[in-house]
Amino acid sequence: MSEAMTSTGRESTPTASPLLRVRDLKTHFPIRKGVLSRVHANLRAVDGVSLDVATGETVGIVGESGCGKTTLGRTILRLTPATSGSIHFDGHDVLSMSSSTLRRVRRDMQIIFQDPAGSLNPRMTVASIVGEPLMIHRIATGRNMSERVAELLEKVGLTGDDLHRYPHEFSGGQRQRIGIARAIALNPKFIVCDEPVSALDVSIQSQVINLLADLRGEFGLSYLFIAHNLAVVRHFCDRIAVMYLGRIVESASAANIFASARHPYTMALLSAVPEPDPQRKRSRIVLRGEVPSAVDPPTGCAFHTRCPFATDICRSETPPLTGKTGLSDDHIVACHHADELLQFPASTDHVSASGGDTL
């Protein structure tokens, strides 16, 4: 499965107009202080991200907590206001469209949240939660709506009997299915999955991932799949982008990320993927220190404070996100030493071999 997906993903990437095109997107949150509420600093949650998602493609965004991946997803749907940059979805300029156009475009782009408990209104029944988008867009009302909602529930593995129950009566996995039913209610083209399985038990995780994969096949959906765990995205995504402090530091097809990662941060993430075989020896890249503050990010390469390979140039110059020799065309890395790091087979070899089939 993953092989086939990867190849289609790679082919569709260079097409003229992808479904979603994000260019140099920045989302800064002003930090106000004092009586006059002066903006005294900016938290740079997303700081210059460019990204394409083709029709039918699944792009994974991976990074630690606080790297801005959730904000990126919300900014793309205009749930959080962007500071600068551009977002084009299906030919529409998302950031400049009027609220009525936005409402229409939102039929095609939906979101699934991380916390299945917090994303469902505790005082609404399943019928009204899943039916709300249908009502807002005047797609179905009354009896029609109940039938349509029951249909959606069956599609995500629940039953029509659940219509009149409240969210607290369901388990975490079932709640996430309700959230998925709501997201697909409008027949969207694109869904942002904001860590949809992070809050779930491992056994439930794979069920939900399989459900998302089935829906992708059935409706030709495109996903932006946000995760903090590489193992989860490995088989599900066509391409993977690794984020660190509001920027993408490496992006490649899922297979290439696992086979030939070049950015030291990606390598560190890969080495954190659990190893199912206890006999296999491997060296881990353990990152020291904390993620620097996004209010006052380090100069040069943001990762230099924790990078074992950092040199002077890393501290002064921001590395561009470009292709490197010896890598496939769609594989881009933002590291001054990406070429030299090829000389560290110890770090890449064992890492690629230990991808971990936790799914």
Binding site: R106, F113, Q114, S119, L120, E132, P133, I136, R182, L186
Partner: protein, 350 residues
Amino acid sequence: MTRGPDQHATGSQRLWQRFRRNRAGVVGLGCVLSLLLIAMLSPLIAGNVPIVCRYQDQWYAPAVVETVRRIPIVGRIVRPSKPFGLPGFDAKSELSDADTAIWPLIPFGPTETSTQSFASPSSTHWLGTDEIGRDIAARMVHGTTVSMSVGVVAMGIAGFIGLFIGGIAGFAGGWVDAVLSRVIEVVICFPVLFLILSVMVWLEPNIVNVMIIIGITRWTAVARFTRGEFIKLKEQEFVLAARASGAGTLRIAVRHLLPNALAPALVTLTFGVAQAILIEAALSWLGFGVQPPNPSWGNLLRSAYVHLRSDPYMVYPPCVAIFVAVLAYNLVGDALRDAIDPRTELQART
């Protein structure tokens, strides 16, 4: 250790399950419901017309008709039961012993005078009579109607204003919030009783004006709680999900935020009813509230106070009633606050 709430109960069922564990709250709720019942059915409990009677070969239910007629709006449809509603018609002398009649428990009207003034409590006049021979028990029962309706209606007005202003402040944020928060703070600073007293100089002192003026000065607590709740709730993912579904501002505020913000507002309103009862009693005591001869706990206390030295028995009923009502509403408010707080779950009561 008590059993946790049933997993499959709805929100309000779970609230009741948690409320029930607080014994003082249940007692308070019992008192509140009894007082409301007395307030609603006061002509059936105390009055000088029978509940049901046969008069000149016709059946009448004058006290029932009177009870229905006091319901706002709906009551207008029902016509008074002639000849019992007519002035100068004394049911007691008109009906002979031979006529079948079921009388209220206290067969005296709240403004019905008798020759027996300053009668001590007896089997006829349970709580005695006042300076012009009116039955104090009957006046207490009808005073309950005044106190309860002032409390509930005033807090209804306050709740409406508070939810509206607090909701807008919390939802809009920014300068709207800043301006409305300052408005709330200014209103909090009003010395309510003095404000009401000065306004009452211009307005006719009657029960409706008392309700309105308490309502438009006591909404600040509700507004502040609602504002906080809206600020907290609007960051929740289900609100983002609604926005992603294309929901507009009004739908989010009314369908998603308001129902979740109602419980804390209800707690403040319950405490507010107790406050309103006290304010009404104080106003009536000072002569700016309900005007004699209409009874209210406040003006009953005032007339008792005048005769405190010679006839102290008159002062107890209104004092006890005000005390019980205020305590009951506060107990209910406390229990309700604990019941809606999810952390109560952890500290299981012994």
